[in-house]
């Protein structure tokens, strides 16, 4: 009971808007259960980097003036004042901030004056397939010389990007903020590949389970798998469109060189969608296999019942006949065979012959052949 309750909360949180219908657009009502924000700043350039966790954005001005790229990451959306301060410092639109705080957004790219607002979703692989897929919204603001990211929960898929900045690996320290934004989106997309690999393995296991056991747990697991695939698809379809918009539409914030990398991102979203669609088809097919296998098993049981019944019911009838109490004393026509020397033996022989004939009829009909086993090659 408790377990299902957890599921329910996990899923419904995705659509619960905290701002009541009709309220002023841009109203920021944080989730009371959300964590307090932790603000982490990485500022870097070709010649070095500066990294610190700060309580507020007071020192930001100084840092921005010193480093070419500043990445401010806010972890935890529990305090509306931090968001409002960000909004003031970076000149963000209130509607975008409202989308940050309502973390059920679909991935999208929106151009606001002076900045691009990118929403993507990070996947978190679940060890337990019964716990539904959990994606976390990553809100990215890309402006001149800064990238501002918001996340709901601590722990993310962005650590490798931080490492690349710290270790000065690749080109990341030598290029502008748009490349950092790309790297963050790319990291969030790449997190879906191991997850889908895991889905593939679950599908293979289910394929075996469907052919062997065919119990209700298969349906339950298929349902969970489909639900996860729907989750991935909901994250990827709009992200694909968002990437396409980033590539096609000219923006002063995105350099041409970065667009080749964004094309790679776009390609990855297509690959993921492609896999999801393939898995969905295979899952639909498995459901059909399951249903036919359930039918086949029912068939097996029914055939066995029919075999036993059709053989023994006639035999029983013969036995019942000789269990009748017609009195052979009063009439020579009243079951004289009861007193024959080989009456009993004869009855047994007749029964055996009838039973054997019925068995042969069954066999000739092909009803003794199993229809649930798959012949080995």
């Amino acid at each position: 009971m408790h377990y299902r309750h957890v599921l329910r909360r996990a899923r419904l949180a995705k659509i619960h808007r905290r701002t009541p219908p009709g309220s002023t657009p841009g109203t920021l009502v944080p989730d009371p259960a959300a964590a307090a924000p932790v603000i982490h700043i990485i500022a870097y350039g070709p010649e070095g980097l500066h990294e610190e966790t700060v309580p507020n954005l007071g020192a930001l001005e100084a840092i921005r003036s010193k480093w070419p790229v500043v990445w401010v990451n806010v972890d935890g959306l529990g305090d509306a004042r931090v968001l409002e301060e960000c909004g003031r410092q970076f000149g963000l639109h209130r509607l975008a901030l409202e989308d940050v705080i309502n973390t059920y957004q679909r991935p999208k790219v929106e151009a606001y004056p002076g900045c691009l607002f990118i929403v993507t979703r990070m996947a978190r692989e679940q060890p337990d397939p019964a716990v539904p897929l959990d994606t976390e919204q990553l809100s990215i603001f890309l402006g001149a010389g800064f990238v501002l990211t918001f996340q709901d929960k601590p722990g993310d898929s962005l650590e490798p990007v931080r490492q690349r900045i710290r270790q000065d690996s690749g080109r990341i320290r030598r290029v502008r903020a748009d490349y950092l934004a790309y790297a963050l989106v790319d990291a969030s997309i790449d997190g879906y590949f191991p997850l889908l690999e895991h889905v593939g393995e679950r599908l293979e296991e289910l394929e075996d389970a469907v052919m062997v056991t065919s119990d209700a747990a298969c349906v339950q697991r298929l349902h969970q798998l489909k639900r996860d695939l729907i989750g991935v698809r909901r994250a990827m379809w709009p992200l694909r469109d968002a990437m396409n918009i980033l590539i096609r539409e000219p923006s002063p914030l995105i350099e041409d060189d970065t667009k080749i990398f964004l094309r790679d991102c776009y390609d990855h979203t297509i690959q993921i969608i492609d896999l999801v669609e393939m898995y969905r088809e295979l899952a639909a097919d498995l459901m059909q296999m399951y249903l036919s296998q359930v039918n086949n098993r029912m068939n097996e049981v029914m055939k066995f019942l029919a075999l036993i019944s059709t053989i023994f019911i006639p035999l029983n009838f013969i036995a019942s006949i000789y269990g009748m109490n017609f009195d052979p004393d009063t009439s020579p026509y009243n079951m004289p065979e009861l007193r024959w020397r080989f009456g009993y033996v004869g009855a047994l022989i007749v029964m055996s012959v009838v039973g054997a004939l019925l068995f042969l009829y069954f066999a000739r009909k092909g009803w003794l052949r199993s229809t649930t086993k798959i012949p080995r090659r």
Copy 2:
């Protein structure tokens, strides 16, 4: 009976046109059951507001000349003369007025000379899931300095917007009529979010019910849920297109600044459609789970019947054999075992062995394992 009758009326009302086929376009035939109109005027500007409920539109001219934005809301479509007076005062096209009175319109945006005609649908959350979703048509005319709205029934989702005007919260009092129109459409869309949250909860409950009881009520409830989702989709798909037209097509009545807010509206319609599609897929999946669960339960019953039958039918046959009346006196071959010292005991032992063997056969076939229970992890 009465209950279903209510349903029927609720649903059919949606497509009943009161104007007979072929009549002059623009004919206004009000629903005889519709309420008498209540006209409510809010006129406002940055420096204040004027609000009153009026019997007719006589004083309108004066109010329009005094306040930058006038919102006339007509509640109840029972009187064609009020509509015609509105048409004269604001210069509305007869075809648009005909659409106002036939409240089964799909959401749409139509440009008429001098005004935009926007049709949207407000949702009303039902406490009882057996009562189908009821959406109410909200007809909005947006012109220079005025917004004119028509509703069928008293009670609406627009109260928060009135409050925002009265309390001068946000920018609403300082901007033009197009922002008011946006706020009204936004309020009507936002009303679908709690409704869909409720649908999500019903889906979760159904998921449990399908796995546990699998009775006909599940199908009935799934059917009701799907019907509601179809209702939401019918309201949202065209509204999405309408919002897109408002954003893309240049109109002197809509300012660029308002378009950023309309983009937010558009985004909400997409989110709702996305949720509806996800719920529809989950509902279709639940239907399949239900069908397989019904089959599985049948299987269980059949297996139990087969178990009892296949064990007892052969035993019964053995008992019947010794119930035959062959006369052991007349022949040593006629059932001599009836007089053996351990004949009865031997027969019982044979029966036990046969029964046990059949039971083992059943068990080895895996037919004793339940296929309807989901193992706990």
Copy 3:
């Protein structure tokens, strides 16, 4: 037999081309069963109207020169010469005339030099739902100052338009021929609304029938309903595109003012398509409900059979044991209970206990609960 034969003719007529494959395009081969043409002329202008039924088009020249708009309606396509005379008088293309005579056309708009050729289909509501939907082709030629219409059968949905002309209601007498063409198309579309209302009622009745009786007649009726919906959809989808073409593509024959009215027509076709799609989804859903209900009923019967069998088969076995003829005289082990004082009573008690235990087992498995009834709230 006869009844089905009628159906067959009704449906196949829709695709039977009378011109053999490969014949010269524009060959006019009338249906031998078609009625003789009745030519009806209404000529009108702001100042009056002239109406007559004529045997041929001899006087047409004079009428056309006198009245601004002439509407020639030909009822019955049984005579190719009338068509050819029309073709000559109004300068119609032979391919269009061929389409007039082969009355299985999809709705369409085709521009020919000097005239527009519009094909639409009029619906005819059937009182008996077993008789499939019958749509009649209405071919409209719109040229400068004339509208020429062809119908297959007497009786149409255009009478209200004639009334509007006669009574000079609305603008029809004061505007050009394109408005008449619009009014005719509009009248033919509006005829589908009551029909769909009727379909909605049939769906509601079927919903009840499926949950209550679940017999083969439900499937049959669902099939008929779907077939009718396919019929409406086949008429409306192409008509929607045709209306769109009329609105979008500039034509000297259509005035801008009329286009606002055509947009209303277009809107109606979308509403009808929307309803059809909704009904189709509900019908598909009903089919699934039906199948699950059939399964559930089978389940009920099987559970009852299983209940009776599993209770009585073991009891019968116990009775059979004491029906065995082992001779208690020859051995103290041969059924001594037959001579016990409470042997019979004991056997009855054992049977009762076994029966009760099996019944309880059944009840605990939940197999006594009905799965076909929907609990009342």
Copy 4:
């Protein structure tokens, strides 16, 4: 066995490419089983025509210089040299010739320098519905003053066109080669109408068969029907696009006047696709009806079995009780009723009452009502 073998060959031939993968494009490898080519020439103009069957294309030059339009028809693709000679004489691209010889092409229009290459498929109505639909590729080259057609097998749907040329009916002799190409495509499309009429009849028959017999032959016939519809759709969808290209894209080889006729062709392809889709939906619906009818019949049998079993099993139990051999001599409690005066009669009465009660229970449950019959109205 042999019959299925024929089917297999018929179907697989459609995709067998004779050129091995990777070979030089334009390699001409004729089907070894193809017939030897028969070359038939019709040259015509307004003033007359010349028709002959020639062994090779030697005299072609002379004929082309004399007549405005020359139609060369090659029947049988068994000789690559004839194709190569055609290629040289008319300047055809090798890739087009390769498509001529691999007769599994989808209909298409390809522009090559100096000529248009049109591929269409002719239908051949089968008297036996078990033989799958057989379409034959018709390859048409349209150039300045010539039309060159290739067919695989003798016998075609083009004879009416030849007749029109010979009899100088319609405009065909007075216009250019593009009209001839149109006439050939039109003739090939028109051949599908009688075929679909026949499919419609088969559907009607199947509808009856499904409701009445519901045997496996229905499924087989539905499968064949669907396969035929897939075949028609595969021919028509691409042909529709090809016609659209011919109409939209300007080509010096197609005159504007001919385009009105091509629009008619395009319209016919849409009509055919429309019919195919409708038939496919009806067929899918029939399959569902069939499955539900099979279920219903199973239900009927099960209900009858349940009726007999539940009535007689308890009765049998009562009879068995009085077949027990408890000895009334040793105890007054041992089945005293065996010696009662009305013991036997009483037992019979008890049995009758129990049987009647069970029957009534069955009837009240509604299980005696047939669910497979459709009530007559």
Copy 5:
């Protein structure tokens, strides 16, 4: 077990990315199990060719300066240094090289400065239908005067192209590198035709198997077939788009003359997709046939069980009645028929009549007719 394990590895390899999420784009991590690269160079021109297998690309500069077209084929992706050397020599983008090494790419065309990057997939026909379809990624770089190809495994479909170069057949030696790239893509596409022919044969065999045996192996085989079709579709859909891009978008690397050949490629991808879709529909249809056939067989067994039960249960009951031990000595009403002269014979006659009547009832219901056999014509 081992066999399924092989399957699993084969399939999952397709999506396993070796670069961890978030790593620097363009990181080359070869599959540790991949083969060591074998570099094979064919350089050619109209006057001759040079062919050798080299250990590294040291001599490439000299060869490129001497021959107009150089084709470098790298077989085996086990060594990142070889890829990096290729990248340097030909100026390839790191993202493209990353795609080469992660061999689960979808077919695509990407323009990089100075070269086109084409990904296609080669099919390998499997003799055993249980082994899933295995496609191998072929990465093609086309630049000025060079074609560079990468494959994962030894053995490919490109040998015929090599032969054409060696034998100077067709135009290949006389044209530029773009024609070679076309020839390679064409060879990879053509490899799907024999594979689909084989799929067609498997479908035909399954059609027989479904109607005759209907066992679980059919479902398994259908599932494998569908999985293979999904595989082909996943390779062809994106390749079709890629071909279309190559044809439509102007590129200095592709000559107009080559585009006619690419159009042929494009046509082949459409043909393959068309076949795949047709086969998928037929497979879906077969699944339905299978399910209905399983149901029908169940029906047959149930009908036989019902026949035996309903005939013998009443007979048995009659026999049981006369097995009751009511004492005819104590009452004239206690089974006097036991002592009648023709009591036994009468009982047998009654039983025969009852049995015959029940059999006739069964026959009249049509339950003796087989519903699983297809009547021969």
